[in-house]
């Protein structure tokens, strides 16, 4: 599904160049539930943005669903994002003057689905995340957890193959975080690849595979079987902290 080969990325601001990703090799298969961890500045968000075709990279190669993603035109990238990829953001990024249903329906609008049809589909997806009765409410009238669930419904409506979530629980309290993770898990159970960025160990430990970044390189990859081990290690880290 996803194949990264020696991907480099630098940000150039004026005369300063910041080398953020220093050669990433990563394989993610279809149906995996992956989290990307790392301290701030380790390049995890940059990696996610490249994976989500929101940003481009300088060197190496990135194959998404079998096709090379490099130097794509904005139009093509937009179409690919619309068809293959769903996004969930830390700050929800709902459009403030549209109600929940319209927000969820937005990706279908860009696909050219007519209004009646897409609103009906949007209601189905809102139902899936348990917010059908909130369909006509504006984002400002909802709690953080509700907003994130609307955002998840929005990311799902275009029936993507991959969901990218950038700190989806970053702005939520623990119990709401777990609710959101449960939904993401359900999505993954339906066969959709979910890739999330987090710096919370308990969140990461709910996924099947953890990619740890350190200074722009992959430090370690913890697979399913080792998760118990990871949880143990995490507990120890907490104790020492």
């Amino acid at each position: 599904m996803i194949s990264l080969n020696n991907v480099h990325k630098s940000y150039v601001t004026g005369s300063n160049s910041l080398h953020v990703l220093k050669g990433i090799d990563l394989e993610i298969n279809s149906g995996e539930f992956v989290s990307i961890m790392g301290s701030s500045g380790s390049g995890k968000s940059t990696l996610l943005n490249i994976l989500g075709i929101l940003d481009n990279y300088d060197e190496g190669s990135y194959y998404l669903n079998g096709s090379l993603v490099k130097d794509m035109s904005e139009k093509k990238a937009a179409r690919l994002r619309n068809e293959l990829v769903g996004f969930v953001f830390q700050s929800f990024n709902l459009i403030s003057f549209k109600n929940a249903m319209e927000n969820v329906a937005l990706p279908l609008y860009y696909q050219g689905v007519n209004r009646k049809k897409r609103n009906k589909i949007a209601e189905e997806y809102l139902d899936k995340v348990g917010l059908l009765e909130w369909a006509t409410h504006l984002p400002s009238e909802m709690s953080g957890g509700q907003k994130q669930r609307v955002a998840i419904a929005r990311s799902l409506i275009s029936q993507p193959k991959i969901i990218f979530a950038d700190e989806p629980t970053g702005a939520l309290d623990t119990s709401t975080s777990y609710e959101v993770m449960d939904i993401l898990k359900e999505i993954n159970d339906d066969g959709i690849t979910v890739i999330l960025v987090t710096h919370e160990h308990d969140i990461a430990s709910m996924t099947q595979k953890i990619v740890r970044l350190k200074d722009g390189r992959i430090d370690e990859i913890i697979k399913n079987g080792e998760l118990k081990n990871f949880q143990h290690q995490y507990a120890k880290e907490l104790e020492t902290a």
Partner: protein, 423 residues
């Protein structure tokens, strides 16, 4: 295709910034409003002036005689001379480009005193002897009775057409002037028509409504003018510049009356065509100026729209980022912004157009009311043509597109990721 979401987004975007949207729209509104008002005023001036002269034959020229200024063929300079009756046929025979030729005689001058008497009423008026052809050049309308005609000429009838002012002075109210007699310089003439000039152009002296017109032949005989002709009114055939006729006629008359060919003074003439062209140039100039100023004002408004759209884009960077992240193509984003800009411009422009036209209409009503049906206003029917309205609207749409395009390109050049980070 009507895209409800697009319009919803546009309206909500504009509503979010009511004051700013209003101020921006006002720039465009003002531009188009000024354009309409100025153009309407220009047209009103044109109408006012043209109404007074448009019926007048624009291809006409007029000739009279002056003292000679060059000695020639044994004649000394300073000689007085006149056109003769025979010149009429001679000119007609030798200049084929002439459409109408109307000789005129100036009646006995009042010499400052009254020259017309009826009972106890007296008055001083301008008296002319004319051919019916004259009405083809400077049109007159009979308000009562009839105009002087060819039979009057043939029989040298002692009949006259009189202007409205003459009726006022020489007749009591409710009195019917038709068939009554006026004593002009001691001779009685019967009134056969009350006439009104269709134009404000006056060939002769004094005011147009103080005119008395009698048959040319009658005047010549009655007042002992021999075979003199004082004045020629001439129009050229359609398509022939009257200047050509003017030059030829002068040449012929000089030759025939032993006036030196290089005498610039002896044959006086006046060419309406030249004046007409001056007027036309003036009005074209006014319209041109209107457009330049109007477009300039409009441009300022449009730049305002463009400017405000840039600010809006800046404010909505994140929103645009979201849209891009979930699959909005650059084209869609551009369309959205351009549509918003066009909407704002056209709405404001349309309001300006409607209000401008409304004001002109109001002005027209007030003007006509004040004028009370009289012709003596030089500013009437302020209006703009349908073509101009359509033209102005197209300019608005095009400028709206341009105003939106710059910010739209800016919005698209922002990467989705940068847009999302912008908080």
């Amino acid at each position: 295709m009507f895209d409800l979401d697009l319009w919803k987004e546009i309206l909500s975007a504009l509503k979010k910034n009511r004051m700013r949207s209003f101020m921006t729209a006002f720039g465009v509104f003002w531009g188009i409003f000024m354009l309409i008002i100025m153009s309407g005023a220009g047209r009103a001036l044109e109408n006012g002036v043209m109404d007074g002269i448009k019926a007048f034959a624009s291809n006409s020229a007029f000739f009279w005689t002056e003292r000679t200024s060059v000695p020639y063929k044994g004649f000394q300079r300073g000689r007085r001379w006149n056109y003769k009756n025979t010149d009429i046929e001679y000119i007609k025979a030798n200049i084929s480009d002439i459409e109408y030729l109307s000789p005129r005689l100036f009646g006995p001058s009042s010499g400052g005193g009254d020259n017309v008497i009826r009972g106890k009423k007296t008055g001083a008026f301008n008296i002319y002897g004319d051919y019916p052809e004259f009405f083809k050049i400077d049109p007159w309308t009979p308000l009562q009775g009839r105009l002087i005609n060819t039979i009057d000429i043939q029989h040298s009838r002692k009949v006259v057409n009189i202007g409205e002012r003459v009726v006022e002075v020489m007749f009591d109210k409710d009195e019917d002037p038709i068939g009554e007699y006026l004593k002009i310089n001691g001779v009685y003439f019967q009134v056969v028509g009350v006439v009104k000039g269709e134009t404000r152009v006056n060939i002769g002296n004094g005011r147009k409504n103080e005119t008395i017109i009698m048959p040319f032949t009658t005047m010549q005989k009655t007042f002992n003018m021999g075979d003199d002709v004082h004045f020629f009114s001439v129009t050229s055939q359609p398509g022939v510049p009257v200047s050509k006729v003017e030059a030829r006629l002068k040449e012929l008359m000089k030759e025939r009356h032993s006036v030196a060919p290089d005498d610039q003074q002896a044959v006086g003439s006046f060419n309406i065509e030249v004046e007409w062209k001056k007027y036309m140039g003036l009005f074209t100039g006014i319209q041109l100026l209107t457009w330049i100023v109007g477009i300039g004002t409009l441009l300022a408004g449009v730049i305002g729209v463009s400017n405000i759209m840039l600010v809006i884009i800046k404010e909505r960077t994140q929103e645009i980022g979201i849209q891009r992240a979930i699959g909005a193509t650059p084209g869609k984003v551009i369309l959205h912004i351009v549509a918003e800009s066009v909407f704002l411009t056209v709405l404001a422009g349309y309001l300006g157009l409607a209000l401008g036209v409304g004001l002109l209409e109001l002005l027209n009503m007030v003007l006509e009311m004040n004028a009370g049906g009289s012709d003596d206003i030089f500013f009437r029917r302020p209006e703009i043509s349908f073509r101009m309205a359509v033209g102005a609207l197209s300019v608005l749409v095009v400028s709206g597109i341009f105003a939106g395009l710059i910010p739209a390109r800016r919005a698209v050049s922002i990467k989705p990721i940068d847009a999302l980070r912008d908080e």
